[in-house]
Symmetry: C2
Subunit: 484 residues, 2 copies
């Protein structure tokens, strides 16, 4: 056995022997029952004292890793582990981890990015926000030195509550709100509190990939339910609820991510009714109900019809306002709120006060509604542009949603077209979108994709869409020609 | 059966009947086998049509909640659930939740607060930070409009990495760092990735209560190991590691929270050695190694001796710098880092860019080291003041640690004294501390408490400590007199 020992190391020579032998046992280089070199032989080989080796073997024995058998020698005791060691960090690979699914991929950046549901910087009021924040820091630098409340800053909660009442028709008390670091964290806090191994949760199919990561990492069984023009199908929901006794439904009823579809008011009530009937929570994700293109706003949130605390209502303004700030809230009524507060405390002790106060001036000013009006206009133009290019470029085998708000279009190709392969193809041409399979939990459909029309400048959007339809048509035609 | 029906409701009359009956079944007001009123009787009682009631009963039957038996009537089908309904939110109480333990209590605020491990605002560089942040916003308002990277802002990671190298002797690459919302979130991300039901994790006894919440909410078995003057006892660690095969050790070796004790360098190496021997991670929480009172700094972090990615090293500056900002980092090497990134993405998609950039000017300026020098001086004075008042006021039955850095003193009373009761007593006199039992996982010792000497002004600290020793002595004497 060749050991690499150093007299200059922090560790004693005998500890170095122990580590190296233990490492070999852990990495299966030495397996159970194998005989170690004798103490005398190892001390000669390594040029160290008999006593040093003796001490090391004694320690290995005390740790239960080897066994000394009188008159025979020293044998490896512990059954070998799975992974073979390649480098010094590889022991980590043999440790079981709990994240079964994640949407975290460091996706390559492209010139024509249709894959991130975010806003082009020209559409955001960053200079106004920066001015307001500067004023605030001048007047009250102490906010930097103050721990935020776990539930969230009282002033910011008041402002959200007022906004909810005025703009969304929701009668929320400031005390019913918990501030979060982005809306996404709100989903995570709810899941951490409510969902555990084997619990059943219903989602729309397709759904926001982030929620699938969260639910599946909690060990949940996710049942995706198909949508029609009005949103999640109520007949399927009733059936699933009766059979599987789900704990919750996650939904994004208004301008849904990824499809851009909105749920009808009738369907919203039916979903609430099923939740009441079967004792479920509804996790209602309202990311962008302000961003409607019709003259009149979308239907009221499901929360507006809830008087039993069935709905855990989530709101965030990161995307539409300031992605560098990331403030969201959970509106929760009833005793469950206290558990959510525990989950928040256990997660990060509370959202930073600075970011909460940074959105406050905006929330309480007219500027907010003017900003949304501007966004609605700009996004509608972009949607129209996108739809007109798709319509002019694809034959009837390709279809898409025409969203009445939000940031995304859901494109459906014939079942034989893999958007995962199309994605790889487009990446090589400096263009990206979200392959649709990540929006399904177990047996994903892979002939859809999500196009976000909000991230690029108007010029890049137009050029990028022309590039996209041309790449997609090339890809489909090449497949046909090669007989796939 | 008295139903409250409204023709003005969003819901149809038959849905209202369904909800109210379903609610009674779920809340045990109606139990399995119970007979519902006949359709005719209910329609007469409630003054509504026969058909409406019929429709409601049909729906309840479809939902599997009641059963209609030909010629006999309609019976409650579902076995009753546990909790009785008191108001419309009480159905929530019957839903099993997953948070088994939490340190979130909205503790009452007192004049003499010794319970929060935080810094008096006069000790913080808030005005300097506010100025720097203002400059930055003026130069680059776009940071408000930019999504932070999931791993964290590259510039901020560079700055942390440089700080680690210069000040802590840690050779970290910026790519090995993951930015978090406070150090606490770092622990949570590690736990979410590594720890699941039944996994064994070792902590010091006593330990930081927040880590117990996190671990126990993940379903871990926490084994607390007693400390001596050098820190966690290595002999007990070896024994526990051999018997229970823990996945990780959480420790706060330098100026430990809550005891204020520091682990010797020899012990640090022994702990690392045990981790190597038994294939464990060490979660090393370095909240305040900068805040030492001796002339020379404390021993190097365990991470400094680690070349296998055994140590997940956590650093945060919220307490010592700006609690309103809350930025921390995990220094992790090896393949495990990628899993941590997934956990971060799944938790909140990344720490806000604003808060990361807000600490950046400080991290890269000399101001930082000047600030720490000032803090060391101020905290040492406070510690001395606290120790002198304790020494002058308690007899030998009460003892305490004399921390060589950090914010906390750990006070030990005779075993017969309950610091939970003492806490209640002090609260009535407008004074608070942290009762020690929250620092143990299962069978807490309840004769300790933690006093934080950093939160109050110098004047309040002195007055508060005099009040504390006087209250504690009164409490103990009253107990003796009443023969408890």
């Amino acid at each position: 056995m060749k050991l690499v020992l150093s007299r200059k190391s922090h560790n004693s020579l005998s500890d170095q022997i122990v580590q190296q032998i233990a490492g070999r046992i852990q990495s299966s280089m030495l397996t159970g029952g194998e005989k170690l070199p004798s103490i005398r032989q190892l001390s000669v080989d390594a040029g160290i004292s008999f006593l040093t080796v003796h001490k090391a073997y004694k320690k290995l024995e005390q740790a239960g890793m080897v066994k000394s058998i009188q008159g025979k020698g020293v044998y490896v005791e512990r059954p070998a582990q799975k992974e073979a060691a390649e480098n010094s960090f590889d022991w980590q690979l043999s440790i079981p981890a709990y994240l079964t699914r994640s949407s975290f991929h460091s996706r390559p950046k492209t010139t024509y990015s249709f894959d991130y549901s975010a806003m082009h910087s020209g559409l955001l009021p960053t200079i106004y926000l920066a001015d307001q924040l500067t004023e605030m820091l001048k007047a009250e630098p102490a906010i930097l030195g103050t721990y935020g409340d776990v539930q969230g800053d009282a002033l910011t909660r008041e402002a959200f509550s007022t906004y909810f009442q005025k703009q969304l028709g929701l009668s929320s008390a400031a005390d019913d709100l918990i501030m979060t670091t982005g809306l996404h964290q709100g989903i995570e806090l709810i899941a951490k509190t409510l969902i555990g191994p084997g619990d059943v949760v219903i989602t729309e199919a397709p759904t926001y990939p982030g929620v699938l990561d969260i639910l599946m990492n909690r060990g949940a069984q996710v049942i995706p339910i198909a949508m029609d023009e009005e949103g999640m199908r109520a007949d399927l929901l009733a059936q699933v609820a009766k059979t599987y006794h789900p704990k919750a439904i996650y939904m994004n009823p208004t301008f849904q991510n990824p499809t851009g579809r909105s749920m009808s008011e009738r369907r919203r009530k039916e979903v609430l009714y099923q939740a009441q009937l079967h004792g479920m929570f509804i996790i209602e994700d309202d990311s962008w109900s302000e961003l409607y293109f019709d003259e009149k706003p979308p239907p009221k949130s499901i929360k507006a019809f809830d008087d039993e605390g069935r709905i855990l209502f989530l709101k965030g303004f990161s995307k539409a306002l300031a992605p560098g700030i990331r403030v969201g809230t959970i509106f929760a009524e009833g005793p469950f709120k206290k558990l959510l507060l525990s989950a928040k405390a256990s997660s990060d002790l509370g959202t930073p006060l600075l970011t909460q106060r940074a959105v406050l001036p905006f929330l309480t000013s007219d500027r907010m509604m003017q900003h949304f009006a501007k966004l609605r206009f700009a996004l509608e133009l972009r949607r129209d542009k996108a739809i007109s290019i798709l319509s002019a470029s694809f034959d009837s085998s390709v279809s898409w949603t025409v969203p009445e708000g939000g940031l995304n279009i859901w494109v459906t190709f014939p079942e034989s077209v893999s958007t995962v392969e199309l994605y790889e193809y487009c990446l090589r041409h400096d263009l990206s979108f979200l392959p649709g399979h990540v929006c399904y939990p177990y047996e994903p459909a892979s002939h859809h994709l999500r196009l976000t029309y909000s991230l690029l400048s108007e010029r890049d959007l137009e050029q990028g869409l022309h590039a996209f339809v041309s790449l997609a048509n090339d890809f489909i035609n090449n497949r046909l020609e090669s007989g796939c």
